[in-house]
């Protein structure tokens, strides 16, 4: 009886046993990474034109801090070139953090970066 029990437990263990698929950053698709977009592709370089900058993370990330930074212009929320916001809104499978970027008088391509933990992504707009 006990011998059979031991064999049965061994078989059960073999059945439940198995490997989990390992975590592979290279297998993460773009949708699941941090994304940053702007509502406008160009701004007038008049120190008053603005655009909405949105960072998007997967809902699984929870409420996290996102640090926005720009090479030109300033964020209204901080009056500076960088600002930290939380992903405070949830929609579908994503959470969002928003800031508003105001242009300055410089012209050319402007890089806007969103960063959360070690994850980061960037987009560009043009000041005309």
């Amino acid at each position: 009886m006990m011998s059979r029990l031991i064999v049965a437990i061994t078989i059960c263990l073999c059945l439940v046993s198995g490997c989990s698929k390992l975590e592979d950053p290279d297998a993460i698709n773009n949708d699941a990474k941090i994304q940053v977009t702007t509502s406008r592709a160009t701004l007038l370089s008049n120190a008053s034109d603005t655009t909405l900058v949105i960072a998007r993370v997967p809902a699984d990330a929870g409420v996290v801090d996102v640090t926005f930074s720009t090479t030109n212009g300033k964020f209204i929320q901080s009056a500076d070139k960088s600002v930290k916001q939380q992903t405070d809104s949830l929609s579908a499978n994503y959470r969002y953090a928003r800031v508003i970027l105001r242009s300055d008088t410089s012209k050319g391509t402007v890089y806007i970066t969103a960063e959360s933990g070690t994850a980061r992504n960037r987009t560009t707009i043009t000041f005309n």
């Binding site: 263990l13 046993s17 490997c19 989990s20 975590e23 997967p58």
Partner: protein
């Protein structure tokens, strides 16, 4: 069938008793002291050879002692002879319990037996004052079902080498002094060698993963599975059958099981680690291996 070493031991014992008149205790066997006057025995070990040893100084007239045993207590069962001992000049007597006397290797834990001891004088007449039946239950402690071990495991999926310690739970009590080589029964070998274990792995020596492995709990990762004690030692293995083999290979265990761990999320924006599991194999040693290492071993004593 008795092991050949025990046959030789018995022959030597017989020769010693005949020639020297002094009883000689067999090596590795536990003495069970017989008091003919008080009609008592000391505790009998399970899964281990033993011999009856007594002093007939106060049992006047006793010349021969017949030892018999049966399973269970009370009137049921049939006595089977263990052996006959003759009182020598030193008034001492000794009788070895051999393999296979009851169709088993040794007395089993948590089983009842009755020992019948019949004392006779030189004329062969029974001496009731020094003859008795002694019912006994071979007792084990709860702790005999559990053994602690430590060792190194390898999980193929994360290619992780880790150290762990675990509690092994056996289906039968384990006597640390049992020499597994002397256990002939296949089923008894299975019980004495197979355990279920669960434990904690606080040390990760190496791994080959893109994302780091993290502790599932504060103390480490969780392991569980089945352990096979002494896979390289016993009557079935041809090597290291001596004392060194018993000391070094008997406390060894090959374990297979499941390694539960956490891994950093592949998505760096998600802080939460991900639960993972992988089968693993391991080589472990009982904690009492520490006794082999002398003073150094005390470091490892639980």
């Amino acid at each position: 069938m008795p092991g050949w070493k025990f046959i030789i031991a018995s022959v030597l014992l017989f020769i010693c008793l005949r020639n020297s008149g002094q009883p000689v205790a067999p090596a590795l066997a536990t003495p069970v002291t017989v008091d003919l006057v008080k009609q008592t025995l000391t505790d009998i070990p399970f899964d281990k050879p033993f011999y009856f040893l007594g002093d007939a100084t106060n049992a006047v007239g006793v010349q021969t002692i017949i030892f018999e045993i049966k399973r269970g207590r009370g009137s049921k069962g049939v006595y089977i002879p263990i052996g006959t001992s003759t009182v020598r000049g030193s008034q001492q007597f000794i009788c070895l319990f051999l393999h296979g006397t009851l169709g088993i290797d040794f007395l089993l834990p948590d089983h009842e037996y009755t020992i019948r001891i019949t004392s006779q004088n030189a004329a062969g007449a029974n001496l009731p004052d020094y003859s008795f039946e002694y019912g006994l239950l071979i007792t084990s402690k709860f702790g005999d079902h559990t053994k602690l071990d430590f060792g190194i495991g390898w999980a193929p999926s994360p290619n992780a080498l880790f150290g762990y310690t675990s509690v092994n739970i056996y289906f039968t009590p384990i006597n640390d002094e049992t020499n597994l080589k002397e256990i002939q029964s296949l089923s008894r070998n299975l019980f004495l060698r197979t355990s279920l274990f669960m434990g904690i792995s606080p040390i990760l020596f190496s791994s080959d993963t893109k994302q780091p492995i993290k502790n599932k709990y504060g103390a480490g990762n969780f392991v569980f599975g089945i352990g096979i004690r002494s896979p390289f030692y016993g009557r079935y293995t041809p090597w290291f059958r001596g004392k060194v083999g018993q000391k070094l290979l008997q406390p060894m265990r090959i374990s297979i099981g499941e390694f539960l761990y956490k891994q950093a999320n592949a998505n760096s924006v998600i802080n939460a680690d991900v639960n993972k599991h992988s089968p693993f194999v391991a080589i472990t040693y009982d904690w009492n291996i520490a006794t082999l290492l002398g003073p150094v071993g005390k470091i490892f004593s639980p």
